[in-house]
């Protein structure tokens, strides 16, 4: 059964939610849209992290020194550490990135020769290269950083795999050896992507941000030009090469603001006020497709549900499909088996992912139930949820219980009233909003013939 937006843990049937794990769960076919920020490693309260940061900057500075001996070797080394596909961070849809070109490597290495302070003292935060070289983004900083600490990350990954029981296989990967300043091939036991057998390395969540704390955009915003209008990006980069003091002041200011630097979560719940506003908006949307009401309903429910069901269910994807000429939208969640009901759904219905089909209709008809039923048979186990406006009519309820009796398929409905109760629970914090799904499931099972 193919999973939708598969993650490594779900693929291996390891049902642990993202909130419970120390590392960001890698997707099998795309990158996690976050990056390792070396500044987070520098400001971490963990001495181990601080030592790793020291290792990162020393390794980077050693490349600067290496070019004095052999420019070719330094360039090759910088190119080889400029991409780290094993960690799967960034914005790629294929989990593979491109290494930097020789020209870019030369440009970076020239910083060591053209700016005397770097030549004599080296970098304290190597992400400062963004201020001198165009095209150095968060992904490049992150990949260089990961390559320098790859040895640590491999040990970390093996440790996490042993804890969770994730299968590993021996893979040959390039690991930076800072004693000899070169990348060496090593055979290590790592988890692998079952789709292409490529090795995977985990990264602690505490190191991840959307963009580095020291970044060019912030610098550019604070850049005070002697002229009236702000110069072009390229002009600023050139200016920086001749005015190291400006960069130094900016970085010193960032260091002072280190308490504001925090990792970005992989998922952020909407605040209670937004949940209430969304509920109010949903209740005011008339049923039907007139005036794009169905799209408005889908948008609001989609926004709310991922937050209401977190952290028991991790949101996977919202997707659309066309059936009988009708566009159908649904929300897919990973089943993390984090409570008794979710375990039951996994065991009894084979639901490794849960589907919530959105129907902005006044009355659910036989066709709607059949559409979801057909969809379940294709992909998603034998349990589905219809998000709709009102309770099912007795005849339709009978239809769903008959589906259970005949084919052991379970389709439950969540209505506006249930959504309201979920928001109440989200607000009151006395129970989890997912308990409403459990309530509906229990009510459905009681309505089924024994």
């Amino acid at each position: 059964m193919p999973l939708i937006r598969p993650r490594l843990t779900d693929y291996h049937g390891i049902a642990t939610s993202q909130a419970e794990l120390d590392f960001a769960i890698p997707f099998l076919d795309e990158d996690i849209p976050l990056h390792v920020d070396p500044f987070l490693i520098w400001r971490s309260p963990s001495l181990q992290d601080n030592a790793l940061h020291t290792q990162i900057v020393q390794a980077f500075n050693s490349i600067g020194r290496l070019q004095e001996v052999s420019a070719d070797r330094a360039e090759n080394l910088l190119i080889s550490i400029s991409e780290c596909d094993e960690v799967g961070l960034g914005s790629s849809h294929t989990r593979t990135g491109k290494r930097m070109g020789r020209g870019k490597a030369k440009e970076i290495l020239s910083i060591f020769t053209t700016i005397p302070e770097y030549r004599s003292e080296g970098f304290a935060h190597f992400e400062e290269i963004q201020f001198y070289v165009d095209g150095i983004g968060p992904d490049r900083i992150s990949d260089i950083c990961c390559n320098f600490v790859k040895s640590f990350l491999i040990d970390y990954t093996i440790d996490q795999c042993q804890k969770l029981g994730i299968p590993t296989t021996v893979s040959k990967i390039g690991v930076y050896n800072y004693k000899v300043s070169q990348v060496e091939s090593e055979a290590v036991s790592l988890p692998y992507n079952p789709e292409n057998q490529q090795p995977i390395i985990f990264v602690p969540k505490r190191w991840l941000r959307y963009r580095p704390f020291i970044n060019f955009d912030d610098y550019y915003r604070s850049f005070e030009s002697p002229e009236d209008k702000k110069p072009e990006r390229a002009a600023v980069l050139s200016f920086n090469r001749h005015n190291y003091g400006v960069v130094k002041t900016f970085v010193a200011e960032k260091e002072r603001e280190r308490s504001q630097c925090a990792n970005d979560p992989l998922f952020t719940q909407i605040p209670i006020t937004s949940a209430r506003a969304s509920l109010k908006a949903i209740k005011s949307i008339p049923s039907g497709a007139h005036d794009s009401n169905d799209k408005k309903y889908e948008k609001e429910v989609g926004k709310m549900l991922a937050s209401l069901l977190y952290p028991q269910l991790d949101f996977a994807k919202d997707q659309s499909r066309t059936e009988d000429g009708v566009l159908i939208r649904d929300l897919i969640f990973y089943n993390t088996r984090s409570n008794v009901m979710l375990k039951d759904l996994w065991d009894s219905y084979g639901s490794r992912q849960l589907v919530f089909e959105l129907k902005n209709v006044k009355e659910v008809g036989r066709d709607h139930i059949n559409q979801l039923n057909r969809y379940l048979s294709d992909n998603l186990g034998r349990f589905g949820i219809l998000m709709t406006r009102n309770e099912l009519k007795p005849t339709m309820m009978r239809n769903t219980t008959q589906l259970w009796s005949g084919q052991r398929r379970c389709i439950i409905t969540i209505t506006d009233a249930d959504l309201e109760l979920m928001v109440e629970l989200f607000d009151g914090k006395q129970r989890d909003p997912i308990d409403v799904v459990n309530k509906k499931y229990v009510e459905f099972m009681r309505a089924c013939p024994s």
């Binding site: 109760l421 109440e424 629970l425 009151g428 006395q430 129970r431 308990d435 409403v436 459990n438 309530k439 229990v442 009510e443």
Partner: protein
């Protein structure tokens, strides 16, 4: 045939009676402010323990037909709990009335072991009051 067997049974009944009344009072306060707020699993667990003990005393005289304890799955609210506790405190009071008798100058518990020396106090003093 008296339900209470001995002094130990009387002790556990008195403990239950106090617990039910104080819980009803607490829950009534909560319910006045937020009747539709749901009750968390911790409170429900303790409420169910109390109700199970009460059911052992009340046996075939349960106050609500078909109800024995709260189902966590149905997410009861504060007002649901107050409604049930009101029935139970009344039933427990009726239990006290039927299981005590007046002998000479005092009320005593009716015990199945035949010893009739355990004073029960005046019944109406034990009635729940808001």
């Amino acid at each position: 045939m008296p339900v209470l067997k001995n002094e130990a049974d009387v002790e556990s009944f008195l403990k239950l009676e106090v617990q039910l009344k104080s819980t009803r009072k607490e829950m009534a306060e909560l319910s006045k402010k937020k009747p539709n707020d749901v009750v968390n699993k911790f409170k429900l667990g303790h409420l169910n323990l109390m109700l199970r003990t009460a059911n052992e005393f009340l046996r075939e005289h349960l106050p609500l037909e078909g109800f024995e304890e709260f189902d966590e799955a149905v997410i009861p609210s504060n007002s649901d709990v107050v409604f049930v506790l009101a029935q139970y405190t009344d039933a427990i009071y009726r239990f006290r009335e039927t299981n005590t008798h007046f002998v000479e100058h005092d009320n005593y518990w009716k015990l199945s072991n035949g010893v009739a020396k355990v004073k029960s106090g005046t019944n109406h003093n034990f009635k729940y009051r808001d």
